[in-house]
């Protein structure tokens, strides 16, 4: 955000100064204070180079929470999401039943309490965005191929609460968390797999009791295990790809190797890293409500990432978060970039179907 506008008030330094001045009582938070609070992607990229080890992302999230608790109103752009979450259990103003739309032909996969061991937690955006629902289909298909016994909550799935937590509406988050945790516990599963980086971070880090009892895995970790256990193989594919680390999976959860191991298991695939990768990867611009509140700045960040991807000479930019796919795809299309943006499971499942070189 700061690198786009160069206004110190929206830099980590400026935002921290505002937080301190508000807490000290020197400044009464005005409308701009709320805007400033929401001008952060919570991506933690700045923290990588901060020798003082400041936790700017946590401070900003806490500041949003503080402002809301003190009576500040959510930004109108965010209020729409919150209302939908409260009413429908998803931020996209879709009915609860719409959540199973992507899963045609998978109705028999509904989780059976006490019998299913692995829950495939789909998440709102993968389930409801029609341009992204090939993602969950692909992961389901890969799990089928690997013979995994998994189950779905379908229309009973509720938002993990990530959006509510990131925008500081802690009451709403707690309501969603309680509801979600109750439903998950009701299934009796011992592990959860999700392909959404945001859901993964939230379930693993913001559901302390649940994550102590149930193993929570991101799809890349799960697939990586299936490959290591010889349950999944991919045919040869001579393709040059690059990988974008989603902030919630990388910097927030320290998962960098699993997606790369999965990609490198494809014979013939060449993985080329972008200039900024792993801990220093640029944010796609889609995080923490910034895309909703500041679409232009969000797109500028996404374009920068697309340019970095193009510099690698890769044909495909692969990532593992629905928001990253959505945001990067939008930017690539806006600038007419030739590079294709694909979700990892979709990329893998397409490969498995094409069978160019047969099984290894």
């Amino acid at each position: 955000m700061y690198s786009e506008l160069l206004e110190e008030s929206i830099s980590p330094k400026g935002r921290n100064a505002l937080i301190r001045s508000v807490l000290k009582g020197a400044v009464e938070p005005d409308e701009r204070a709320v805007r400033i609070a929401y001008s952060c992607l919570l991506c933690r990229r700045d923290e990588q180079s901060c020798v003082a080890e400041l936790r700017n992302s946590d401070a900003t999230e806490a500041f949003r929470r503080y402002l809301i608790e003190k009576g500040a109103k959510l930004l109108p752009e965010h209020a729409v999401l919150a209302k939908s979450l409260d009413n429908y259990g998803n931020p996209w103003q879709e009915s609860r039943a719409a959540r199973k739309r992507w899963a045609k032909g998978l109705q028999d996969k509904k989780v059976v309490p006490g019998k299913t061991s692995t829950l495939f937690y789909v998440g709102c955006t993968f389930a409801l965005d029609r341009t992204l629902d090939d993602g969950p289909k692909a992961l389901a298909s890969l799990m089928d191929k690997a013979g995994v016994d998994y189950g779905l909550l379908l229309e009973d799935e509720v938002c993990c609460g990530s959006t509510a937590k990131r925008i500081g509406d802690i009451k709403l988050f707690e309501k969603l968390r309680r509801e979600n945790e109750k439903r998950i516990r009701g299934t009796g599963v011992d592990s959860i797999v999700t392909a959404c980086a945001g859901c993964f971070k939230t379930l693993e880090q913001d559901y302390p009791d649940l994550s102590e009892e149930i193993a929570i895995m991101h799809s890349t970790q799960f697939i990586s295990q299936l490959i290591a256990n010889d349950k999944l193989h991919f045919p040869k594919r001579a393709v040059k790809v690059t990988y974008h680390d989603p902030c919630h999976l990388g910097r927030h959860s320290d998962v960098y190797d699993a997606p790369r191991q999965v990609l490198l298991s494809v014979p013939g695939l060449e993985l080329v890293e972008m200039k900024n990768n792993r801990q220093t990867a640029r944010c796609c611009g889609g995080g923490a409500g910034v895309k909703t509140a500041y679409p232009e700045i969000s797109q500028k960040a996404a374009v920068k990432r697309i340019r970095e991807a193009e510099e690698t000479g890769a044909e495909v930019l692969i990532t593992t978060c629905p928001f990253c796919v959505q945001t990067l795809r939008g930017a690539a299309s806006a600038i007419g970039a030739k590079i294709k943006v694909e979700e990892l499971c979709v990329f893998l499942d397409n490969l498995a179907h094409k069978r160019e070189g047969g099984r290894r």
Binding site: E7, A17, V27, R32
Partner: protein, 466 residues
């Protein structure tokens, strides 16, 4: 603070000249511009708000801003990266902070003439990255390398750890474009390095802390990127034996980019034998043959002075680690301040003993662990250290008395109070120790000539006449 009527008129006019996107005026937006990294008096935290922050992108924008300020007699506080430590960015009487950070273009690179012309808001790092594409370098590296801007660096007369070979920013400035307090644009002279015509007006703005005008363009001397770089790190029993090696090196004709002699609490993590906590570091740049010869030459000095050479990779790692500590130390350690005094070599021991043995304890201060003393090797002999601020009842007064005593000690020994952090508010009232009243009057007269209404960063650098 200014009257509401003036403020409203000022804002209206700024917006009509610059557009809404280049003007900030809400209190929440102004908070970060209430101070820089100066340790402001605790009860004055968030006391000094500017009335507006503006983001010019061109010289014409700055002209427009200064014209409004001149007419309304409103203070102008020019700003670069904001990493200043002496309070030169604190808007003591409100006014307009002119944040030059969007004036970040490289205007022209002249490879045959070895110069670059830039807008003032480009950071040192951005400029080095841009110049590298042309095979050139400015060679100005300081702790705030990533955030400090060219305009800020010139206005502070900043340090460079490569000073021995390439000088500091003061030596790089060839020509400047400045918007003066009357709104007129002045080019100080042609974009050439050597001339014997006229006053060197560009030098007047080096270290002027924005009190004479707003720098809108700078032409700077640059050099080709060297063929080879290398470094040497050696361990000694203590700081003084490391300093012997530094002095011996200085007495020869060997060329190096810059260096350090300093003491740490424990150097074993850098591969030092136990108990050898005095460090001596030198950097070299040039042709391959030149650098090889320089390194071998200094290795002999290290051997003769009883030093133990670090492994080659450790020497490179040392500088990286040192830089990272340098950048963030303020935020990590809290209530401390940094010393950047310059004391002639022959008085260094006396300065060291009196500073830590008498002055600091007298005011209840002490060095930060591992940050007691470091010395730049070469002609730019900063004697740097970090110390805790006095605490308890009357802490601020004790702190001011401590600064005064450090200034007395430094100037009595023929040194300078602040060799690279500027004067700002912190050292303003001690400047009378370093300069005669005659010299200060000349400075005041210059200021009056260029800024008769005192709108350019008022209250900074120059002490009031007693």
């Amino acid at each position: 603070m200014m009257e509401t009527e003036v403020r409203d008129q000022m804002l209206q006019r700024l917006i009509s000249v610059l557009g809404l996107a280049k003007v900030l005026s809400s209190r929440s937006d102004l908070v970060p511009y209430t101070k820089d990294t100066y340790r402001i008096r605790y009860d004055e935290d968030y006391k000094y708000f500017p009335d507006a922050v503006v983001f010019p992108e061109t010289t014409a924008d700055v002209e427009g801003i200064v014209e409004i300020a001149a007419e309304l007699k409103v203070p102008i506080i020019p700003k670069g990266g904001g990493s200043n430590r002496t309070g030169m960015l604190v808007p003591l009487t409100g006014g307009i902070v002119v944040d030059t950070i969007r004036m970040n273009r490289i205007v022209d690179v002249s490879v045959p003439n070895l110069y670059v012309t830039v807008q003032p808001g480009i950071t040192l790092k951005e400029l080095e990255d841009g110049l590298a594409k042309h095979g050139l370098a400015l060679n100005q590296e300081q702790g705030s390398f990533k955030v400090a801007t060219i305009g800020g660096s010139i206005s502070t007369s900043g340090f460079s750890r490569k000073h021995q070979k390439y000088g500091t920013i003061a030596d790089r400035v060839m020509s400047l474009e400045v918007v003066l307090a009357n709104g007129k644009v002045m080019r100080t002279g042609p974009k050439i390095l050597y001339t014997s015509t006229g006053y060197r007006l560009q030098q007047l703005f080096v270290g002027a802390e924005g009190t004479l005008g707003v720098i809108t363009e700078a032409t700077l001397r640059v050099e080709p990127i060297p063929e080879a770089k290398d470094a040497i790190l050696a361990f000694y029993h203590d700081f003084w034996s490391a300093n012997e090696a530094a002095l011996k090196t200085m007495s020869t004709c060997v060329t190096f980019t810059g260096g350090e002699a300093y003491e740490v609490e424990d150097a074993t993590s850098l591969g030092a034998p136990k108990g050898r906590n005095g460090l001596f570091y030198l950097g070299f740049e040039g042709t391959k043959g030149e650098v090889h010869a320089q390194v071998e030459f200094v290795k002999k000095i290290v051997h003769e002075t009883g030093g133990v050479l670090a492994k080659h990779d450790d020497a490179a790692k040392f500088m990286e680690k040192y830089t990272s500590q340098w950048c963030g130390a303020r935020a990590q350690t809290g209530l401390e301040d940094a010393l950047t005094t310059y004391v002639p070599v022959e008085h260094m021991r006396e300065f060291y003993d009196k500073l830590w043995g008498e002055v600091m304890p007298k005011h209840g201060s002490a060095p930060l662990p591992g940050e007691k003393f470091s010395l730049d090797v070469g002609r730019y002999r900063i004697m740097a250290g970090r110390f805790y601020l006095p605490k308890g009842q009357g802490a601020w007064e004790k702190y001011q008395a401590l600064l005064r005593d450090i200034a007395k000690l430094t100037t009595r020994l023929g040194g300078s109070i602040s060799s690279c952090h500027g004067v700002g508010i912190e050292h303003r009232d001690n400047l009378d120790l370093e300069y005669s009243e005659v010299a200060l009057d000349v400075m005041r007269d210059l200021k009056k000539t260029l800024d008769p209404d005192n709108i350019m960063n008022p209250g900074k650098m120059l002490p009031d006449k007693k």
